[in-house]
């Protein structure tokens, strides 16, 4: 099988999986809905209850699962390619927590009430700040571990900032709310959240998909890429902005959901030629499918209060992270 037809099959398979997850996300939940009722609502003549459940409750949740999952998977793949580091992903590098801190500041100081755009904008600013700091700390180093350590330091700093905000919170319930929100969830979201996430994910995604070829060239290191005609400054700018805007927008609506960007590229890479560009689009699809499936999981697993999505992805992701960390001597 030639590599281009293998790629077509991979993308087709992932698209089908994503579509199945999306339909499943509409049908499954605390009140399962039969396919027939879904079809009726889609055709415009369903019963009122089904309409409310599907369109007001589950449709935004499903769309957010797809959008957030796609951008997390894509940014993980792009960061891994850019940093030549299979451990890179937004949460491990502290970007998600930076965005979380920005969002908490927006919520805690009441800025989010001033203008609806304040929440995503501050989350994006938080993500940019942590990426900038990461670049200063470890940008020159080609060692994966330096980068991961710098990311952990930044994530801890952002978490400390969040804790400080919670300490200062005048309202214990607000603190509780922020705490829960930070664990990451798609519960109880509306189209309002979809409209926040959608433009961020589209802009961030476009920026991240633009540089596949430069990421391939970076397989040969920064000088190797330069001598293959890559303008590293521009690539870096697009990648930092794309990650910050995409992940910032995603964190603003879903909290900090970690490890999707780590797991998904590793799952799809064996089905590609392993070049960074070949992993990008499959990681976006795979991320959308994985997060949507995980979100179905938290709804159907019978627990007294619904599991948090970020908790589930952490349980899935940490073993993958540790496996690769232990295999450090032969990285990829």
């Amino acid at each position: 099988m030639t590599s281009s037809s293998a790629r077509t099959w991979l993308l087709l398979g992932l698209a089908l999986l994503t579509a199945a997850a999306a339909v499943g996300s509409l049908l499954l939940g605390s009140a399962p809905i039969a396919l027939g009722r879904l079809a009726a609502v889609a055709a415009g003549h369903g019963d009122r209850i089904a309409k409310v459940i599907l369109i007001d409750l589950r449709l935004p949740r499903m769309l957010l699962g797809l959008l957030v999952g796609a951008i997390l998977g894509l940014s993980g793949a792009a960061l891994q390619g850019y940093l030549r580091n299979p451990l890179a992903e937004p949460a491990v590098l502290g970007v998600s927590n930076g965005a979380g801190l920005g969002a908490v500041v927006a919520l805690y100081f009441g800025l989010a009430d001033l203008h609806p755009l304040m929440l995503p904008v501050l989350a994006i600013v938080g993500a940019l700040a942590s990426l900038g700091a990461l670049h200063l700390l470890a940008g020159r180093s080609e060692s994966p571990l330096t980068l991961v350590l710098a990311g952990i330091a930044l994530a801890s700093l952002a978490t400390a900032g969040i804790a400080l905000a919670l300490n200062l919170s005048p309202n214990p319930f607000a603190a509780m709310e922020i705490m829960t929100w930070l664990l990451g969830s798609l519960d109880d979201r509306s189209f309002h959240h979809v409209w926040i996430a959608l433009p961020c994910v589209l802009i961030g995604g476009a920026l991240l998909l633009a540089d596949g070829r430069a990421l391939d060239a970076l397989s040969l290191g920064e000088e190797g890429a330069s001598t293959l005609g890559v303008n590293l400054k521009r690539v870096r700018l697009r990648l930092l902005l794309g990650t910050a805007i995409g992940v910032g927008g995603a964190v603003a609506v879903s909290g900090a959901i970690g490890f999707v960007g780590l797991i998904v590229p590793h799952l799809v890479r064996p089905f590609t030629d392993r070049s960074p560009s070949a992993v990008l689009l499959p990681s976006a699809l795979g991320g959308a499918a994985l997060l949507t499936l995980a979100d179905i999981g938290v709804r159907v697993i019978p627990t007294t209060s619904e599991l948090k999505l970020g908790v589930v992805t952490a349980f899935l992701g940490v073993p993958v992270f540790l496996t690769y960390l232990l295999k450090e001597r032969r990285l990829w």
Binding site: S219, L220, G221, E223, T227, L228, N231, R274, W332
Partner: protein, 258 residues
């Protein structure tokens, strides 16, 4: 065909001056070897010619155009580069890796054209790596990987190639093969600049040698004019048996200068 020219080129890395006022012209038609002891500035010169090292003063021009003003893409189509000990960060297949050499020629979002595929085949055939085209380049032996990296640089099919120690990690047979290959490229009209440590190889295969010593050009000319006992003693601090009389020159380092 291109000509690269360095004029009064001074380069510092950090606050350490590495090259002092280098004047040299690199013309196609014959292989140019750059030799000199460790730390003489050979690799820095190569990087400066490619616009990778920040120039303190002076300039590098390609056919009269300053390298500093050229877009990276245009420069990449003019000069290919094989760095020393090139690392590969992902386990790409040999074919895919060699194909990276075509990146400077691709328009945005286009696929490899048949002309690109042909260039990849040519480069793999020249370096004798076609047999393991589907293997992961990270799983090859050091010598095989060095040839694959050379194939990657040749696949650019740029009019100029700068190779930094392409013989490291190669067995004698493949060393000769690589030098003959580069010499053939030079005869075909390419500008080939190759950094070498092996003085016999340099004397046998290069048409011109540039001897660097502590950031300055100690000698520049045909091998017979550059390689003499006094100079090797001065620059390398060695005594050597030198026989440049026949068609197969021989330079054997014997001892450190007392």
């Amino acid at each position: 065909m291109v000509t690269i020219r360095a004029e009064a080129l001074t380069v510092s890395l950090g606050d350490q001056p590495v090259l002092h006022g280098i004047d040299a012209q690199f013309e196609p038609g014959g292989m140019i070897g750059v030799i000199g002891p460790n730390g003489a500035g050979k690799s820095t010169l190569a990087r400066a010619l490619l616009g990778l090292a920040p120039t303190q003063s002076g300039s590098v021009t390609i056919d009269g155009v300053p390298v500093a003003s050229m877009a990276r893409g245009a420069l990449a189509r003019q000069v290919a580069y094989l760095p020393q000990g090139q690392t590969l960060h992902w386990p790409l297949s040999v074919e895919r890796l060699v194909g990276l050499g075509r990146l400077p020629h691709l328009a945005p979002f286009s696929r490899l054209a048949p002309a690109d595929a042909a260039a990849i085949e040519r480069a793999m055939a020249k370096t004798d790596v076609t047999a393991f085209r589907t293997r992961a380049a990270t799983e090859l032996s050091g010598g095989e990987r060095a040839r694959v990296m050379l194939a990657r640089a040749l696949a650019v099919e740029a009019p100029a190639l700068i190779a930094d120690e392409p013989l490291a990690a190669l067995d004698p047979g493949h060393q000769i093969e690589v030098m003959e290959l580069l010499a053939a490229e030079a005869r075909a009209g390419a500008l080939i600049v190759v950094i070498l440590h092996d003085l016999t190889m340099a004397a046998r295969h290069c048409d011109r040698l540039l001897l660097l010593d502590r950031g300055r050009i100690a000698a520049d000319g045909p091998p017979a004019a550059v390689l003499d006992e006094r100079r090797l003693a001065e620059v390398y601090g060695i005594r050597a048996a030198i026989d440049l009389s026949g068609s197969k020159p021989l330079i054997v380092p014997l001892s450190r200068k007392p």
